[in-house]
């Protein structure tokens, strides 16, 4: 393109300021969304091009830097499977929107709505009377040999007989610029949340342009979505309980699940949060079970019920299919709707449309050939070198292959595979997707584009989201438009051509809102993870404190010369639950390294740290950004590689850093978590674990049959973080009974056993369901009994007796230890047991020996 042709575009740019689009040169092989074949800006792009040039590249760049910050701060991510660094990959968004005119949008919508209606009716037929098979519209193999056809769902009658509540379609432009369907998303379409987030970011970055272009708003679409989710409820239509079901934080679009749940006002749940009882679905809360009316799922069909669907899914809700049949819950989209994503079905959609609606298909799809069809396979084999070969059914796990990219031998191999098993393959024509301008390092370059259209059912038709998410390829050459394979996203603007509906789902400033405070119920799964997070953090801190006690001495002493070193190492060995080796015979440093760095030791430092990270990431939506940052620092402070340099001084420094990091975590929990059930379970975990650790320390040190030398007593005080308190109270007189009192019975010492028990008493009294009982619960009995014993204990007596018969103190703390474990079990059983992982059982092989012969 010449500068002349762009003069209209850049008319308002001053002569020394080059317009944004001056160097923009689309490819000759594909149509461009912004420029027509003559290089002229298309009419519906003119205004935005003009306005963008008015603000100029420098200003746009500056505004976009702020916008990127917003994406980062909002934590918008897209997880990429199989890439260790892929968790939480930041979302890539381009500053320049894709623009559609009001007229072309209307035509596109007509086609999209018709398509959604066809897919919905086809599902109802295939899971019902199967006229499409009986009247030979579709070959039976495509349904009967299809892993996405879920037989247990046949005969289910979803509320309103609607199978497809929401649908998405990837739309591209083919060679002549017309719209064309690339793929359907029918079971749990993703992208609405990203579309919304993109819109918020872009409209904030260029608010003036957004306003002047009169862009259709997205909010009305979400209003329809919320309305739909309410009316599909089988019961409680006035106020149904609606949950958003996510496979969890490891899912690629988890961000969107959390985002949508918050935006629409639904509870975000995982399979383990729900349970089926007598064909009804309930949410497992600490306060009891609460019936669920609608499940808005973002989990694939097959994973939703391990009892009737894929047996080895640990994400599902056993019994959900039966609950659907009984009509007590509505799943959106209906279970089984993934069937319509089958590539082999594509070539039959025009026939299905004609058969079910009596209409011709309005919007074409990419031409597709199911090789199980005789005419198709002949065409495919004759034109093999310019097609995209895909598995006919998704479950096969093979990726699509473009034959153009293959060598002659590879092509022959693939051709042989297709010929041997034609019904397992689909071939697709490849179309030159259109390009649109994308900002790359301050320049504007063409990238291939696909738009994801979203539909939501409304009455007996569908509403289309006006605009939203477009994605672009990683390079100008690549035709692969996928967030999984790189590339990025764009906001799509549909020009309204008239007044804009300014409805917003966000509460306008100044609107009255009801006051809400902590005290709401909490799901058992979240409570379970917080409980274990508390325990792991405390466990890690105990290891670090003991290790620091050892390393700080090793810097200028050795095991032979220092009497306290074997004792502390013994305590560390006890903490790590290793069988006691002979500690005097050297090898102390190796043992220390084993405990700190061995990644297979169950109670060692590495496994404890990774457990912290894992449990924390499972409850990430409960954690402040600062807390998350602290947890990330744990990882950085102490990954095996950077601390295991062999230098004791470096090791000491990183242990010191870790102790400060743990203190920061504890401080944040105390200072920034509301005193609701989440905080309570985190703290219960910490208190139980700290209690166990103190008892363990006593068993390894104070319960020793020999009198302790003063240096050892000092070391114990240091490890237990109680040295200053002791010195302030008793000066330098080191006596075992005083030490025992400070570490076990002193209710004012946050490091003492009794302190933990008092805190546990407070927590337990406030857990749901406890106040209803007149008698003390077993948990309360245990706490009261052990606390009373500690209050009555005469440590002078107890520490003397141990010299004669070994009982006394050891007996006392051993009983506390046993009771702490019992306490943990009781709390788990009462509140957390629902959260355990379920597993499959089945009959062993049934056999009968041969007896009869022919």
């Amino acid at each position: 393109m010449t500068t002349d042709q762009l003069s209209a575009v850049n008319s308002s740019a001053s002569p020394n300021q080059r317009g944004l689009f001056t160097d923009y040169t689309p490819q000759a092989t594909a149509p461009d969304d912004m420029l027509d074949a003559n290089g002229q800006v298309r009419p519906h792009w003119r205004q935005i091009v003009q306005l963008l040039n008015d603000i100029g590249p420098a200003e746009l760049e500056k505004r976009w830097a702020t916008a990127r910050q917003l994406i980062h701060e909002n934590g918008v991510t897209y997880n990429v499977y199989g890439d260790p660094a892929g968790m939480d990959r930041p979302w890539v968004l381009d500053a320049l929107p894709l623009v559609y005119s009001a007229e072309e949008w209307k035509n596109l919508c007509d086609g999209l709505v018709q398509r959604a209606r066809v897919l919905d009716l086809a599902l109802a037929d295939l899971y019902g009377p199967q006229h499409l098979l009986k009247d030979s519209v579709i070959p039976p193999e495509i349904i009967y040999a299809n892993p996405a056809f879920l037989r247990p769902l046949r005969g289910a009658r979803p509320s309103g007989d609607r199978w497809l509540h929401m649908a998405a379609a990837d739309v591209g432009r083919n060679g002549d610029g017309g719209f064309c369907i690339l793929a359907d998303r029918t079971q749990a379409p993703s992208g609405t949340g990203y579309a919304l987030e993109n819109r918020i970011v872009v409209s904030r970055a260029i608010p003036d342009i957004f306003r002047d272009c009169r862009v259709s708003r997205l909010a009305t679409f979400f209003r329809s979505m919320r309305h739909l989710l309410q009316v599909v409820a089988p019961h409680n239509k006035e106020n149904p309980r609606i949950v958003l079901l996510t496979p969890g934080p490891y899912n690629e679009t988890y961000f969107e699940h959390a985002y949508l749940a918050r935006y629409l006002g639904y509870t975000l749940v995982e399979g383990a949060d729900l349970t089926v009882r007598d064909s009804r679905v309930y949410m497992k809360m600490l306060g009891g079970l609460q019936q669920v009316d609608v499940i808005f799922r973002r989990q694939d069909d097959n994973y939703c019920d391990p009892l009737e669907l894929m047996p080895d899914s640990s994400l599902g809700i056993p019994g959900l299919v039966q609950a659907v049949h009984a009509g007590h819950v509505t799943v959106v989209n209906a279970l089984g709707s993934g069937l319509m994503e089958t590539p082999a079905l594509e070539m039959f959609i025009p026939h299905i449309c004609k058969y079910l609606l009596g209409e011709d298909l309005k919007l074409p799809a990419v031409r597709s050939y199911w090789c199980g069809d005789q005419d198709s396979i002949e065409f495919v084999l004759a034109n093999f070198n310019k097609l995209l070969i895909k598995p006919a059914f998704y479950a096969s796990g093979e990726s699509p292959v473009s034959t153009e990219s293959l060598s002659a031998t590879q092509m022959e191999q693939l051709r042989a595979k297709v010929r041997a098993n034609p019904s397992q393959y689909v071939a697709e024509e490849q179309i030159p997707l259109s390009t649109a301008p994308v900002m790359i390092d301050g320049h504007v370059e063409p990238r291939h584009i696909a738009f994801r259209a979203h539909m939501v059912a409304a009455g007996d038709s569908y509403t289309v989201m006006p605009g939203g998410l477009a994605r672009f390829s990683i390079s100008a050459e690549s035709m692969i438009v996928s967030m999984q394979r790189g590339g990025g996203s764009k906001d799509t603007w549909v020009l309204s051509g008239g007044p804009v509906d300014s409805f917003s789902m966000l509460t306008p400033p100044g609107a009255p809102m009801g006051v809400s405070r902590a005290g709401g119920d909490l799901s058992s799964r979240v409570a379970d993870n917080l409980y274990w997070l508390g325990r792991y953090v405390e466990r890690a801190e105990a290891i670090v404190r003991l290790a620091r006690g050892i390393v700080s001495r090793l810097v200028d002493q050795n095991f032979e010369s220092s009497p306290e070193l074997p004792t502390i190492l013994g305590a560390l060995v006890g903490q790590a639950k290793l069988s006691s080796p002979d500690l005097k015979s050297g090898g102390g440093e190796e043992l220390l390294n084993h405990i700190l760095f061995d990644s297979d030791l169950p109670y060692g430092m590495q496994i404890t740290l990774s457990s912290i990270y894992r449990t924390a990431s499972l409850v990430r939506d409960r954690m402040s950004i600062d807390t998350w940052r602290i947890l990330n620092r744990l990882d950085a402070d102490f990954s095996a590689s950077n601390a295991q340099s062999g230098q004791l001084s470096e090791l000491l420094a990183s242990l010191d850093k870790l102790i400060v990091t743990f203190a920061a975590f504890g401080g944040l929990a105390m200072e920034s978590m509301t005193r609701g059930l989440a905080w309570r379970f985190l703290d219960i975990g910490r208190r139980i674990e700290r209690g166990v650790n103190i008892v363990q320390l006593c068993l390894s040190t104070l319960c020793s049959p020999q009198a302790l030398p003063p240096t050892t007593m000092e070391a114990i005080l240091e490890v237990a973080d109680s040295a200053i308190t002791y010195r302030r109270r008793y000066m330098t007189s080191l006596q075992t009974p005083l030490l025992a009192d400070l570490l076990l019975a002193d209710e004012t010492n946050p490091r003492a056993l009794a302190f933990q028990l008092v805190r546990l008493q407070e927590h337990v009294a406030l857990l749901p369901g406890n106040h209803l009982e007149v008698q003390l619960t077993p948990v309360e009995q245990i706490l009261l009994r052990r606390l009373t014993e500690l209050r009555l204990a005469d440590f002078g007596q107890l520490t003397v007796i141990q010299h004669t018969d070994g009982s006394g103190l050891r007996q006392l703390v051993n009983m506390v230890m046993a009771d702490l474990f019992k306490l943990s079990d009781l709390i788990s059983q009462k509140y957390l047991s629902h959260a355990a992982q379920s597993r499959q059982i089945g009959p062993s092989t049934i056999s009968i020996p041969p007896k009869e012969r022919l």
Binding site: R151, L307, P311, R839, Q840, I846, K851, R853
Partner: protein, 304 residues
């Protein structure tokens, strides 16, 4: 008419308490023209609310869940069945096997369409070229279908060894084919894979077998177990049963409970549990004829 009383017990014992379980049973027999069922009863301990529905293949399915902690789950189904003799002799004339495959391919209608449901790969039915080639030794050109089916059954019977416990429910067909050992379920799966590999429709039948006592000996109660065999679709006739484990036509001694594409569609009892630790399972089936003179008084040994 022969009348049988059937009792089928399954018991799971767990090392640790199970807090919640969800189960799906195919223990209530389906209606067929030859089977008349009476006194059907399903006894579940601990007691549990249950829902019944017909599954995709028309079998009766029971879904139940238990949400109180338990260390043992016992499910006992009891029923009586009147078994009518088969309507046709087993040696009816059948056409060449290739024509059947042809009728089932493309876009068949009516009964042929229904049979198509059993023509393709399914969760536990898969085959490779070795299995196909082995099958083709029985399916020689233009051979009558029933002949070829019978020949394949006899080859499974002769070339494969019945070894109790040699496989489990997830053993794949190609493994069975390679090892040449298995139990009734494996032989049924293998036969189905063979038939489907040449384009026929074949389904998995789960049921019970009445065991005739060896001469001069008492019937062993509880020695009987769940059994499995195969049914092949024959146009115009319908479904023709064959039991490759015993190499017999299942006529008067085979009692059908359910059918599906393979075991995974009709497993008698399966479940998902929370907790439990290790478990052990006991399965026992009694099939007692009520028409014989000694059998009515046969002592029923309680299954404790």
């Amino acid at each position: 008419m022969a009348v049988f009383r059937i009792r089928h017990l399954t018991r799971y014992r767990y090392q640790e308490p199970v807090t919640v379980c969800h189960n799906l049973a195919h223990l209530i027999p389906r209606d067929t023209p030859r089977h008349t069922w009476t006194q059907i009863d399903l006894d579940i301990t601990p007691d549990a609310p249950r829902s019944m529905r017909n599954d995709y293949f028309g079998n009766r399915m029971t879904v139940f869940g238990i949400d109180e902690p338990h260390r043992e789950l016992q499910v006992v189904s009891r029923c009586m069945v009147d078994l009518a003799p088969p309507l046709m002799s087993s040696l009816f004339p059948t056409g060449p096997w290739e024509s059947v495959g042809k009728m089932l391919s493309g876009r068949p209608q009516g009964e042929l369409l229904a049979a198509c449901e059993f023509r393709f790969r399914s969760p536990q039915i898969n085959w490779n070229s070795d299995i196909y080639n082995w099958t083709m030794q029985s399916f020689t050109p233009s051979r009558p279908l029933a002949d070829a089916v019978l020949d394949l059954s006899s080859r499974i019977y002769k070339e494969f060894k019945f070894v109790s416990g040699s496989t489990n429910i997830s053993t794949r067909v190609d493994e069975v084919f390679q090892r040449r050992t298995g139990v009734c379920q494996d032989f049924a799966h293998l036969a189905i894979a063979c038939f489907r590999s040449v384009g026929l429709a074949a389904r998995y039948v789960s049921g019970y077998l009445v065991t005739a006592p060896p001469p001069g000996q008492q019937r062993l109660i509880g020695a009987d177990a769940s059994h499995a065999w195969v049914s092949v679709y024959v146009p115009e006739y319908g479904w023709m049963d064959i039991d490759p484990t015993n190499h017999v036509w299942p006529l008067e001694r085979h009692i059908t409970v359910a059918w599906g594409r393979d075991f995974s569609d009709v497993s008698p009892l399966r479940g998902v549990i929370l907790g439990g630790g290790k478990h052990e399972v006991t399965v026992g089936v009694d099939v007692i004829p009520l028409d014989g003179d000694d059998d009515t008084n046969a002592p029923v040994v309680p299954l404790n």
